[in-house]
Symmetry: C2
Amino acid sequence: MAEQAETLRRAPLSRDRILRAAVALADAAGIESLSMRNLAQELGVVPMALYKHVANKDELLDAMIDLVVGEIDPPTPGADWKQDLRRRVLSARQALRRHPWAPLAIETRNMATPALLAYLDSVVGTLRAGGFSANLAHHVMHAMGSRILGFSQELFDTARDAGRSGRTTPAPPTAALPPEVAARFPHLAEIATAASHDDASVVGQGCDDQFEFEFALDLLLDGIERLQQQAWTSARRTR
Amino acid sequence: MAEQAETLRRAPLSRDRILRAAVALADAAGIESLSMRNLAQELGVVPMALYKHVANKDELLDAMIDLVVGEIDPPTPGADWKQDLRRRVLSARQALRRHPWAPLAIETRNMATPALLAYLDSVVGTLRAGGFSANLAHHVMHAMGSRILGFSQELFDTARDAGRSGRTTPAPPTAALPPEVAARFPHLAEIATAASHDDASVVGQGCDDQFEFEFALDLLLDGIERLQQQAWTSARRTR
DNA sequence: CTTGACAGGTGTACGGCGTACACCTACCGT
DNA sequence: ACGGTAGGTGTACGCCGTACACCTGTCAAG
């Protein structure tokens, strides 16, 4: 009786509700505690109920990724390719930062979800419209690698285990190494502390992930721009 | 009796033997079938026996990573930073290609194994010796990202699921997309087929991962070199 | 030579996982 | 009124990592 009432009280299960709950759970508690059992409990339902709406856990993960990728800004048709690409990559970064589990999930999956393909396709479209040859566009996609999705496998990533163990405390950005480590790896110790971002006058010591990401992104984009101009020049020369 | 004989026949277990067997198993059967139980069976031993030599599976994985990272070429003290860095990154790539499970394992771990730190430290050392400021070296490490370890999360990676499901068949490099996909993502379809690597005359159509990796690597290294010269110039100017 | 500590392999067991399969039940179109 | 079906349930299986008690062979100290 009471059980019936509860059954009636809760919203009926649906693929959409499951996906939302899954993303919320992964956001809050980390991807490693997203089990079918936990998720079901979160929804007030028995684990096997989920399987009436998703084929299995892999499909669930794919759908979650698509949800996140869907948050990335659409392209701006008229715009300059470089600006537009930069903007979208940073938008991708924001999206993935809202869901710290996503990079790991993306890398783990087999990498062919529809939303992901659509995003990549649109990026290539921007390049082609910007005058890139199919060939050069191909190379550029490889060169950008996972950075095109807004992450770069930061080698010392504070935000990274957020994808595993839940929300991080804000955490001082990459504090200095423990002294015994610093002693054995002097060069790492040196660069860990030294990271002012302008020529001078930056308050926060330590490492600003966002700055580093944009630094690398612009390094790539500038190099790519040079390549494109080269290609254009040489095409003109042989005309 | 027979059991005793067998016990005596097999070499005594040791941390080293376990690590070797674990790497071999992951190489041959994929990281996902490296379970403590499988590994123990491979060694003709009961699962719990392993725990006399490794603390737990995480520690085992860390040790495996260190083994792989240890295969990377050491630096050449006198050499030009750019050449040396290029050579070592390509050496890292070779090492990780011998163990397709390693990139995923590295990304999954918490990223602080001794051999890895030593490698990174030596790379920074090369940069510093090459005249990079600690600051610029820091940025460069971020810019290189996982590429410094010889992989780059190729977005369509044929070799990638080798790390999961075992040795791949040689496999034609990134064959064309299935037609219904190609129709929905025209730009992807276009660049999937178009990928000649020189200006002309390349026999194999399709995508050569090694070429793409070096392309991106050189794009970065060239950009980095330019930055360094800039820094040097401006330092000279203000002298 | 005895003894007792200890290193190293064994057996059992627990809790968690994904999910196959049989079931039950409420609703809906005929 | 009734059969089908969509959707939630319960049980169970085979994996996983690993805690814990146990056994056994080796070897140093008495």
